[in-house]
């Protein structure tokens, strides 16, 4: 496997790098929001049960 893309390096690595950042960011954000909403709902449910 030759990772030297020669004169096309900027375009090839740029494409893969951009894809990694975009999809990685989307994944992180989706998981973060999910965790936050679960935490907030559980806190509200516990507060309701305590009352």
């Amino acid at each position: 496997m030759d990772l030297d893309m020669g004169k096309y390096g900027l375009f090839v690595w740029g494409s893969f790098g951009l894809s990694f950042v975009a999809l990685g960011g989307l994944t992180w954000l989706s998981l973060y929001v999910h965790a936050q909403r679960r935490k907030v709902l559980e806190a509200l449910q516990q507060a309701t049960e305590a009352k």
């Binding site: 990772l3 096309y8 375009f11 740029g14 494409s15 989307l26 989706s30 998981l31 999910h34 909403r37």
Partner: protein
């Protein structure tokens, strides 16, 4: 089946076990696909830039597939008042927007060395840009309307009207001549394997993120319903 899954609790119970599998498959396919992307031979004409095809084409296919799913979900939400349809469409939109943006960006990065230009206002590229703007408009419209039911109706209409763009994107290379190449069926194994595996990886990732985001929407609705009940009491 569709009505069976309309109940949020039931939907969560059925889909929760699928999530780790989808994440696992996405990871395996993406690692395997990336290996194949760089182990495959370069193209005799395009050189190493052919490797961009292995991330550009799957992103482009998913950009259309996800919008079609949003359109179908919007139809079910608007006409059949399916309880989770709007939440499903809302969960899909950012995923589709990211894939569309990637299709445009990687296409541009592929086009510059191959065609000598970053962009051309041809049928395919212009209609794909319109798709990206539809996604952004959908997300912005949903965010701008506070009332959930009104937001769902307005965005459903926007999504269904935008469906007309999908056949335009697909047939644009047939109807108009431009830089973008014609649709083709690839049979060469050296190209087909990395393309197929990367598509599988992207599809599993999109499905996993969709289930995560839909569950987030369901959690948000439960929170708002509980808050409303507490406020009334």
């Amino acid at each position: 089946m569709i009505n069976f899954l309309a109940n949020p609790e039931r939907f969560t119970r059925v889909t929760q076990p699928l999530r780790p599998w989808l994440a696992g498959f996405a990871g395996v396919f993406l690692v395997w696909g990336l290996y194949l992307c760089f182990a495959s031979p370069e193209d005799y004409q395009q050189g190493d830039t052919v490797r961009i095809m292995y991330i550009h084409v799957p992103a482009a296919i998913l950009s259309l597939a996800i919008y079609a799913a949003i359109g179908i979900a919007s139809f079910f939400g608007l006409i059949f008042r399916h309880a989770l349809a709007d939440a499903a469409a809302k969960a899909l939109a950012p995923i589709g927007a990211v894939f569309t943006g990637l299709a445009l960006a990687t296409g541009s990065l592929w086009g510059k060395p191959m065609w000598g230009t970053w962009w051309q206002w041809d049928g395919r590229m212009t209609s794909e840009l319109v798709l990206f703007l539809l996604y952004v408009s959908y997300i912005a419209l949903h965010a701008s309307i506070e009332d959930e039911i009104r937001a769902a109706k307005s965005t459903a209409i926007l999504a269904m009207v935008g469906l007309v763009n999908l056949p335009i994107i697909h047939y644009s290379v047939v109807w108009w001549s431009g830089l973008h190449q014609q649709n083709a069926i690839i049979t060469v194994p050296d190209i087909l394997w990395p393309l197929g595996i990367m598509f599988a990886g992207y599809a599993c990732l999109a499905a996993w993120l969709f289930l995560i985001r839909l569950d987030s929407e369901i959690l948000g609705r439960k929170y708002r319903a509980l808050r409303a009940r507490l406020t009334l009491n």
